[in-house]
Amino acid sequence: MSEGDENSVQGPQMAISREPLPAPGDLEQIFRSHHGLVFRAAYRITGNLDDAEDVLQTVFLRMMRRGRPAVEVGNMEAYLRRSAVNAALDLVKLRRESSNVPLEPLEPVLADRAPAADRQQNAREIRQCVRRAVGRLGPRAGEIFALRYFEGHGNSEIARALGISQAGVAVTLHRARRQVEKEVRLFLGERS
C-alpha cells in the first residue's frame, strides 16, 4: 500500500483534512502518548522488534511531513492504530519473498505458560506463517484482517473506521480468513 492509500481507503464521510505542520510540542505530545500503541500494533504484525521500530518511525515521519490529522483526541488512537497496521503490512509485504524465519533471540515474549521448547518454537513458527500469510493479502483485506484478529476490533468498529459497510467487512474478512487458513494448512502439511 503506498502512502497515498491511507487517505484513499476512507470514504467521503471519513475524509481527513490536514492542518499545517504540527508544532513540535504538539507532535511530541502525540508521540509520547501513543508510541506504545503504535509499536505494539506494529509488532503484532511484523513479529520483529526492529521492524516495529521502523514502523513507529515511519508513522510519525509521515505525520510530520503531511500534517497532524484533524481528528478528535479520542479518534487519534484509532487513526494511529490504522497507520501502524498499514505501515507494518507494507513492511511484511517487502519481506514476503524471504523464506527465512527470522531468529528473535531478543524476543521478550512467552506466549504460553512455559511449554516445552519444541512446542514453543512450533507455535512461534505458526505465528510467523500467519503473519506472512496476512502480508500476502490485498491491502484492504490485510488491513481488515489485522484490525480484526490482531487488534481485536469488532466488525462494526472496522466498518466505521474504513467508511464501508459491515457486510463489506464481513465478506472481506471471510475471504481473507480462508486464504490465511489455506496457507497455514499448507505450512503444516509441509512440516508433517
Partner: protein, 807 residues
C-alpha cells in the same frame, strides 16, 4: 486440530504477545531522537546523483544502518516498490542483518553506572539458577545414541533429506533422527533408558534427548510405550498438539490429522494440551479434539504383538478399580460410643473410621485376582521388590481387626506442661492384649482393654475410662452436633481452653477477636462421590475486631473481571473498610500515632480519603501468562472514584516530594471514552495500569491485561460462570460466599516441577481446588471439595501442635 482453531489460537497468541515496556520506551527514544533531530544533522555521506538501480543499491547499506538521509530513504523505498531487482537486493542485505544476534552497537544511550552494577549482581546471582533451569537450552545435549531398533517386521526406514534408507534390527538412531514404518510393517525400538516403543504401520517418530529427559516426537501414527523407570529426567511423548509425561507406565499414543488420543494400560500419565493438564490412570483415555471419538482401549492396542498381555493387564486393573469403587466406603457415623469416655479437660478430639476394613478389602481383592491372572502376577513380582509393603499392610490390617468402626484420639493439657494423649477404640476380639504383647511397647505409653474399650494413653488415670464431666462442656455439645449430621473424619478443639493458656497478650487477642473463639471443628466426608471438607470456627459472641472483617455471604462482582483461565484467585467481601481501619487503630496505640504522622506528611486522611471511598468487595488473581512477568489483577469496589483518584495523586505527590531521586510517575490517557491511569516507578522497576469501571477499580501490570479484564465482564467470560469452577462449589444452602480461594496451578507448576523436583509433590495434585468461606454473626465456616492440602489431618495436627505448645 482444525485449521480455523490453529488460526484462532495463533491470532490469540499474537494478540497476547507482550513486549516489555522498557524495550518499547528504548525504541521510542531512538525514534524520537532521529525524527526530531534538526535536518542539518541528518545528512549522511556526501550526496551522490541517483541515475539508476546501481545508484539505488549503493544506498542500501546506509539505509539498513539508518544513517541514510530521510529524503534518500523515501526515494529508495518508493523505488523498491516498483523495482523487483532492487527490492530483492534490499531483502538479501536485510536477511544477513536479521540473522545477527545481539544488540546493534552504538545504538543505545550510554547505560548509567548503577544499572551496570545492578545487572552484574543480578546476573551473578541468577546464573547458577538460570543454568539449571534452562540447562536444556544452554548446555550441549547429552551424547550417545537415542535408540536402537530391536525388532523389525516388514520395512522400516530412516527418514532423511535424501529420502529413506532401510533400517535393520540393531540399527542405531541418533538425536532427532526420524524413523518411519511402511504399510503393513512394524518395529520395536529400545531407548537408551530401557524403555520400549512399539511402532504401528505408517508411523513416524524421532527421539531427542535433553538434560530434562527424553522426548519421543511422534509425528504421525501410533505407538505403545513401555516406559522404564527414569533414573534422571523424564520420558515424554510429544505430538503436534499435546505432551504426555510418563511415570513408569504402559500406554498408547495415536497421533493423526484430527488430533491425538492417549490411552493408559497401566500406571499414570500426565497429558498436557495447551493450558490444561489431565492425569490418566489405567483404563483412562483422552483425545485432544472433540472430532476424535473415543474407542475401547482394547481396540486401540489390538494391532500390537503384545496385545493379549495388555488386554489381560488392562482387564485386571479395571476390574480391581471398579470393585473398589463400587464397594461402599466406611459409612457415616451418627453417634459415638467412645465420646462419653473422653476424659475431663480434653481440649482436642479426633475421630476417624477404622482403616483396617478398607485395606483388607483392597488386599483381598488383589490377592484373589493374582491367583487367577498370570499377567497380574508377573506385573506384581516385577514392581513389588521385597516384602515391605505386604508386611506393613498385614500388620495394620491385623491390628485393625481387633478394633471397632471408630478410633478416637483425645488430648488434654498435661500437669507438667505439654499434652497428654488418649487413644480409644472398641474391642471386638478378647485376645487383643495378648496380640499386642508380641510387639515392643514404649514405657511412656500405657494400654488397657477393660469394658470392651481399648485405651492407649500417657496418663495412668485414664486407663479405666468412665463417663465424666466432659459431656457438660461446650466442646462436647459441638461434637454431638457434628455427629448429628453424620461424620467420617472429625477433629474438634476447645479453643477457649487452649487460648486461655496461650502466652499472647489478652489485649491483642481481644482486638483481633480471636479471644472470643470457642471451638474449632474440622470435618471431612464423602458424599455421593464428592469429598466435602469443612472447618468451622465458633465464637462466644458476635464476631468483633479483626475476626469480624469477613462479611456475610454476598454477591461478588469483583469476580466478573477474572477469566476462567486464572491460575490463582482470592475474592472476598468484607465489612466497611473504614470500620476495618478503626479496628486496626484500636489494636495498638502506636498504630494511631503512626497514622497521624502519615496524614500530616501526605495530607491524606486515611479514614475518609483512602478507606472511605472503598466498598467491601475485592479480588486478587493471577490471570494470564506467568512468564516473563506474572499477570496479576486487582479488583476493588469503589463508591467514590473521583475521591480515590484524588487520594492516589496526593500520595504520589507526597512520595515525589520526599524522594525526588526515585520519583513515581502517574499519567493518564483517554481512550474509548475511558480514562486509563499509568503508574510507574523510576527506571521502570514497577509499573501498573488501572481504570475505574462500573463501580470497581481494576489494576493490572499492562493495558492489555486491563482490557482483557474489562472484556471478561462485558462478554460474561468469567471464572464465576465457568463449569469447572461451579462444579467445585460445595453443597450447602448458601447461594453466595463471603470469600473464595481458587487455584488451578497445575498448568503452571507442571512444567516447572520437572525442573525443580521439590515442587513435584505439589505438581502431583494438579486438579483445581476451591475453598469457600461463609461469615455468620458467631461462626465462620470454610468449606471445599476435593483433595485440599489445607484441610487435611496432617495440617490440622500441625495447627494444633502450634496452638497447644506451651513454653
Amino acid at each position: 486440530m482444525k485449521q480455523r482453531e490453529v488460526l484462532e489460537k495463533a491470532a490469540a497468541e499474537i494478540r497476547g504477545e507482550q513486549v516489555e515496556r522498557s524495550v518499547i520506551d528504548a525504541a521510542a527514544a531512538r525514534v524520537w531522537e532521529r525524527i526530531s533531530a534538526p535536518r542539518e544533522k541528518q545528512t549522511g555521506p556526501a550526496p551522490i546523483r541517483i541515475r539508476g538501480c546501481a545508484d539505488f543499491q549503493a544506498l542500501i547499506p546506509s539505509y539498513l544502518d539508518r544513517t541514510l538521509p530521510e529524503a534518500r530513504k523515501l526515494l529508495l523505498e518508493d523505488h523498491t516498490r516498483e523495482c523487483v531487482a532492487c527490492r530483492h537486493a534490499v531483502e538479501a542485505a536485510r536477511s544477513g542483518d536479521v540473522q545477527s544476534i545481539g544488540p546493534r552497537p552504538a545504538r543505545r544511550a550510554p547505560m548509567r553506572p548503577e544499572w551496570k552494577w545492578a545487572i552484574a549482581a543480578a546476573l551473578t546471582i541468577g546464573t547458577g539458577l538460570g543454568i539449571f533451569a534452562f540447562r536444556d537450552e544452554i548446555l550441549p545435549v547429552p551424547g550417545g545414541s537415542r535408540a536402537v531398533v530391536r525388532n523389525v517386521a516388514g520395512f522400516v526406514y530412516r527418514v532423511s533429506d535424501n529420502g529413506g534408507t532401510g533400517l535393520p534390527a540393531g540399527a542405531v538412531l541418533r538425536d532427532r533422527e526420524g524413523v518411519r514404518t511402511a504399510k503393513g510393517s512394524g518395529a520395536i525400538l529400545r531407548l537408551a533408558d530401557g524403555s520400549l516403543v512399539e511402532m504401528r504401520e505408517r508411523s513416524e517418530l524421532a527421539v531427542s534427548r535433553k538434560w530434562s529427559g527424553t522426548t519421543i516426537q511422534l509425528r504421525r501414527g501410533s505407538v505403545i510405550v513401555q516406559a522404564a523407570r527414569q533414573r534422571s529426567g523424564h520420558l515424554y511423548v510429544a505430538t503436534r498438539d499435546c505432551l504426555v509425561s510418563v511415570k513408569g507406565t504402559v500406554f498408547s499414543v495415536n497421533a493423526g490429522v484430527k488430533g491425538s488420543r492417549v490411552s493408559v494400560i497401566e500406571g499414570e500419565v500426565h497429558v498436557e494440551q495447551g493450558r490444561q493438564t489431565k492425569v490418566l490412570h489405567s483404563g483412562d483415555q483422552t483425545a485432544t479434539s472433540a472430532q476424535l471419538e473415543p474407542v475401547s482401549i482394547r481396540d486401540e492396542v489390538s494391532w500390537s504383538r503384545d496385545s493379549n498381555r495388555y488386554f489381560a493387564l488392562l482387564g485386571e486393573f479395571s476390574a480391581i478399580q471398579k470393585q473398589l469403587e463400587s464397594s461402599p466406603g466406611a459409612p457415616l457415623r451418627y453417634s459415638s460410643k467412645l465420646l462419653p469416655y473422653v476424659p475431663d479437660g480434653a481440649v482436642v478430639y479426633v475421630a476417624i473410621p477404622n482403616p483396617g476394613s478398607r485395606l483388607a478389602e483392597a488386599w483381598n481383592l488383589i490377592q484373589q485376582r493374582m491367583q487367577e491372572s498370570e499377567a497380574l502376577r508377573q506385573w506384581w513380582n516385577q514392581h513389588q521388590a521385597g516384602a515391605g509393603p505386604e508386611e506393613i499392610l498385614q500388620k495394620v490390617r491385623a491390628f485393625s481387626d481387633y478394633l471397632g468402626d471408630e478410633i478416637v484420639l483425645a488430648l488434654a493439657p498435661g500437669k507438667s506442661g505439654g499434652m497428654d494423649a488418649m487413644l480409644m477404640a472398641e474391642v471386638t476380639r478378647p485376645d487383643l492384649m495378648t496380640y499386642l504383647r508380641q510387639f515392643h511397647q514404649p514405657n511412656e505409653i500405657l494400654m488397657s482393654a477393660e469394658n470392651n474399650i481399648f485405651v492407649a494413653t500417657t496418663r495412668a488415670s485414664w486407663l479405666n475410662p468412665a463417663p465424666g464431666n466432659f459431656s457438660h462442656g461446650a466442646l462436647y455439645a459441638r461434637i454431638r452436633e457434628a455427629y448429628g449430621k453424620g461424620v467420617s473424619w472429625l477433629c474438634a478443639a476447645d479453643m477457649e481452653q487452649i487460648l486461655a493458656q496461650s502466652v499472647h497478650k489478652e489485649q491483642a487477642m481481644s482486638g483481633l477477636g480471636i479471644g472470643d473463639v470457642k471451638t474449632l471443628v474440622f470435618e471431612r466426608k464423602d458424599l455421593a462421590g464428592k469429598t466435602d471438607n469443612r472447618a468451622q470456627i465458633e465464637f462466644g459472641q458476635v464476631r468483633r475486631g479483626v475476626a469480624s472483617w469477613l462479611a456475610a455471604p454476598a454477591p461478588m462482582g469483583a469476580l466478573d473481571y477474572i477469566s476462567p483461565d486464572a491460575a490463582l484467585t482470592a475474592s472476598f467481601v468484607v465489612k466497611s473498610p473504614k470500620s476495618m481501619v478503626e479496628d486496626l487503630l484500636q489494636l495498638d496505640p502506636q498504630v494511631s500515632a503512626s497514622l497521624a504522622e502519615f496524614e500530616a506528611r501526605t495530607g491524606v486522611n486515611v479514614l475518609s480519603d483512602l478507606a472511605g471511598p472503598l466498598g467491601g468487595d475485592a479480588a486478587i488473581a493471577l490471570d494470564g501468562p506467568v512468564l516473563p512477568m506474572p499477570s496479576w489483577k486487582v479488583v476493588v469496589e469503589v463508591y467514590d472514584p473521583a475521591r480515590l483518584e484524588s487520594t492516589i495523586e496526593k500520595l504520589v505527590a507526597a512520595w515525589n516530594q520526599e524522594k525526588p531521586a526515585a520519583p513515581i510517575h502517574l499519567d493518564q490517557e483517554q481512550s474509548g471514552g475511558r480514562t486509563f491511569y499509568h503508574i510507574r516507578g523510576d527506571r521502570a522497576l514497577f509499573q501498573a495500569e488501572y481504570t475505574f469501571s462500573d463501580g470497581y477499580l481494576i489494576a493490572a501490570p499492562t493495558r492489555e491485561l486491563l482490557m482483557r479484564a474489562l472484556q471478561n465482564r462485558q462478554t460474561g467470560y468469567t471464572l464465576a460462570h465457568a463449569p469447572g469452577f461451579r462444579s467445585l462449589l460445595p453443597n450447602d444452602p448458601y447461594p453466595n460466599c463471603s470469600a473464595v480461594v481458587y487455584q488451578n496451578l497445575g498448568p503452571v507448576i507442571g512444567p516447572i516441577a520437572s525442573q525443580f523436583p521439590s515442587l513435584s509433590t505439589l505438581a502431583a495434585s494438579t486438579a483445581p481446588t476451591l475453598v469457600c468461606a461463609y461469615g455468620e454473626p458467631q461462626r465462620i465456616t470454610v468449606a471445599g471439595t476435593g483433595n485440599l492440602p489445607v484441610l487435611n489431618l496432617a495440617a490440622m495436627g500441625g495447627i494444633f501442635g502450634q496452638l497447644t505448645h506451651r513454653p
